[in-house]
């Protein structure tokens, strides 16, 4: 069973004042994909996770963490 993956994409995105569509444009995916990742409906691939980390200029562990793991700050 895939362990639940938490993320703080929405918080980081909103802190930058980006819409889902703007983040989608920066990562070359659809807005639907951003939406499903933010809402934990969809677990992104490693490639997409790295693209998102690059868009926010943060390590990937800052964006995603496993349940029971404290989020990196």
């Amino acid at each position: 069973m895939t362990p639940p993956l938490h993320n703080r994409l929405r918080a980081l995105r909103e802190a930058r004042g980006w819409t889902q569509a703007e983040l989608a444009e920066r990562t070359a995916v659809s807005r639907k994909t951003i939406n499903t990742v933010e809402n934990r409906v969809f677990i992104p691939s490693t490639v997409l996770a790295l693209k998102l980390a690059r868009a926010f200029e943060r390590p990937v562990e800052d964006l995603f963490w496993l349940e029971d793991d404290a989020p990196a700050t």
């Binding site: 659809s30 807005r31 939406n35 969809f42 691939s45």
Partner: protein, 143 residues
């Protein structure tokens, strides 16, 4: 309208069309199960059904947006869509298996010809996959 908005619009349209086509294909599959609708010798209708099946399978397996270029095609068929497509195909497989089991059971109590049974089994498999794909895509689009 930028490419993200165009992709969104096309994805929304594809989700609705997929759902409607799935329903139509299931309904038509059950209608075709009656020999009064499609006679064994009505080859024009049988070929028409096969062509429609091929078109629907192409729509389901390869998606849309490819005519707008590879970059846009990749955008509207990104990893969420690929995951939804896999889930839809799995649902279609189980629907097909269940329908085949029901047809098998029904054959003990009624005369069930092979061709109508195949129509119903294929219609359920492809139709349920299309409907499920449409539902998953619409759910994914909701903010």
């Amino acid at each position: 309208m930028n490419r993200i908005e165009r992709a969104e619009r096309l994805t929304r349209w594809r989700a609705h069309v997929s759902h409607v086509l799935g329903i139509l294909f299931v309904v038509q599959g059950f209608r075709a199960a009656d020999w009064r609708v499609i006679q064994p010798t009505d080859y024009a209708q049988l070929v028409g059904w096969a062509v429609w099946l091929a078109v629907l399978l192409g729509f389901l397996l390869f998606g849309s947006g490819l005519l707008h270029g590879p970059a846009f095609g990749a955008l509207v068929n990104d990893e969420t869509t690929a995951a939804n497509r896999r889930a839809a195909l799995l649902a279609g497989f189980w629907a097909m298996l269940l329908t085949a089991a029901i047809c098998y059971g029904a054959s003990f109590t009624m005369a069930l010809a092979v061709r109508p049974a195949i129509h119903v089994i294929v219609a359920m498999g492809v139709g349920v996959a299309l409907m499920h794909f449409g539902s998953l895509e619409r759910r994914a689009l909701k903010a």
